[in-house]
Every structure is written in C-alpha cells, then in structure tokens.
Symmetry: C2
Subunit: 151 residues, 2 copies
C-alpha cells in the first residue's frame, strides 16, 4: 500500500517535471523569437493580449490580476507600451482616480499582427502534436489543475 | 485546406496556452510553499537537485548549463547556499582556476528532506491525475518537445 502510494507520487512527480520542462523549453524559444524577430517581449505580448480580450480596457489592478503578476511589474510594461504608442490610459467617467488601460488603434493592429505570428510559431513548434491529440492532452492537463487553491 | 491548417494551429495554440497555464499555476503554488514552509526558493531547490544528481559535483558552467540559467544568476544562488553551509566549493586537482560546486553533508541531508516534501506537495496538487494516466500525458508532452531547436 505504502509502496503503491510511493509509486503514484513518483509518477505524479515525473508528470509535473515533464510539464515544467515542456513549458520552459517552449517559452524560452518564444521569448527568444519575440526578442529577435519582433523586438518585443513575452510580458508585453501578454499585456497586449489581455487588453485585446477586454472590450472597454482594464484597470491596472484588473490587468495585474488577469496576468497574475504584481502591479509594479505591469506598470513598467504599460509605461513602455504607452511610450511606444501601443497603449493609452483613459480617465474613467465618475472615478477621478481610476484609469482604464486600452490598446490604441496602432496597438490593436500591432497585436493582431504579433498574435498571428505567435500562433504560427506555436504551430511550428508543436508540429508533431496532431490536432486530434489536443483534446486528450487538454483533458489530462485539466486533471492537473482542478485544485481549488490553484483556480 | 487553409481552413484545416488554421484549425490545427488554433488547436495547437490552445494546447500550448493550457500547458503554460498549468505549469505557471503549479509552479506558483510550489514557489509559495518553498518560501513559506521551507524558507527557501525554487531556484535554490533546483540548484541543490542538480548537485544531488551529480556524483563529484559540478563546475559553475556545467551547473548553469544544466539549469539553463545564466552563470551570474547561479553564482548568486550558490553564494547563498555556501553561506548557509549547504554547498561548498572544492578545488579541482590539476586545474587551479576551476572549482567544483558540491553539496555538503548537511546540504545533502537538507535536500533529501526537501525533495521528499516537494514530492508530497506535487502528489497532493496532482491528486486528480491517476498514475495510470501519467504515461499517456508523458507521451503527448513528448510530441510537444521533440524539436531539434528545443533539445
């Protein structure tokens, strides 16, 4: 019984280390391509993606919650995106202290372009994974993160 | 046909985003537990794990290659581990400039303890993943990272 439990925990550890290795390898490759081919970064892309998913834009705290990173980190990224004319801060009617972070039209167009390129990179990097296997992989990964404390 | 390709690339993108989300959620939880329950960090644990896997210890460049992080980052982590008496630098016979980084006996015992606790955390966090599904998940993830440029 205790042997069974040990075997199971060893199997789960193998699975976790494989998930982590896979994510790190792909992410490392994508970071490198964002830097060398698009002169941007994965965090900048993630921020623009979150803004692209929102209709009216997001407040800083909403943005950092969605990205699961600290407000401070997001602020620095947003500042640079504003400097590049990709993002703008808009006042919120009825709340003087609040600001909505939104993509500019240039930012929206740039993100659409980058998102298309990013999808192509992922398609290339995961070329050996048949689309028909994706559901099965998604189902297995769903088993990994159903925990309350992780949702 | 082009629709087929698009569908496939969208499926692969879904799979990648799921892998990334899964890895980030579990890693975030483990980082938090290392900090709050063991007063250490995931990078420190990773360095000790690499040293525990080596028989004679590792040179700095071997360590940073194995961990896929910069020499500079590893140096800072090793310095702190040395300060804590968990790791020591040994001269290499016949190579005055080279040093081998090794776990001290205290470090080896501490790592064994932490590794056991870490395995328990992973077993708990992945409790919904049956050991019988692990092989299948490993096989699917193998399809994701078979690329030359990722190995």
């Amino acid at each position: 019984m205790s042997t069974g439990l040990t075997t199971t925990s060893k199997e789960r550890l193998r699975a976790w280390l494989k998930i982590l290795k896979t994510a790190r390898l792909i992410e490392k490759e994508l970071r490198e391509r964002f830097r060398t081919e698009l002169d941007t970064t994965l965090p900048r892309f993630d921020v623009m993606a979150a803004l692209a998913r929102s209709d009216a834009g997001l407040k800083m705290n909403e943005l950092s919650t969605e990205l699961r990173v600290s407000n401070g980190n997001v602020t620095g990224i947003v500042d640079r995106l504003v400097d590049n004319g990709l993002v703008e801060r808009r006042a919120v009617v009825g709340d003087r202290r609040a600001q909505l972070i939104c993509l500019t039209s240039h930012g929206a167009a740039t993100f659409a372009d980058h998102a298309r390129i990013h999808e192509g990179w992922v398609d290339e990097l995961l070329a050996d994974l048949p689309a028909s296997d994706v559901e099965q992989l998604m189902d297995l990964l769903d088993l990994v993160i159903t925990k309350e404390d992780l949702s």
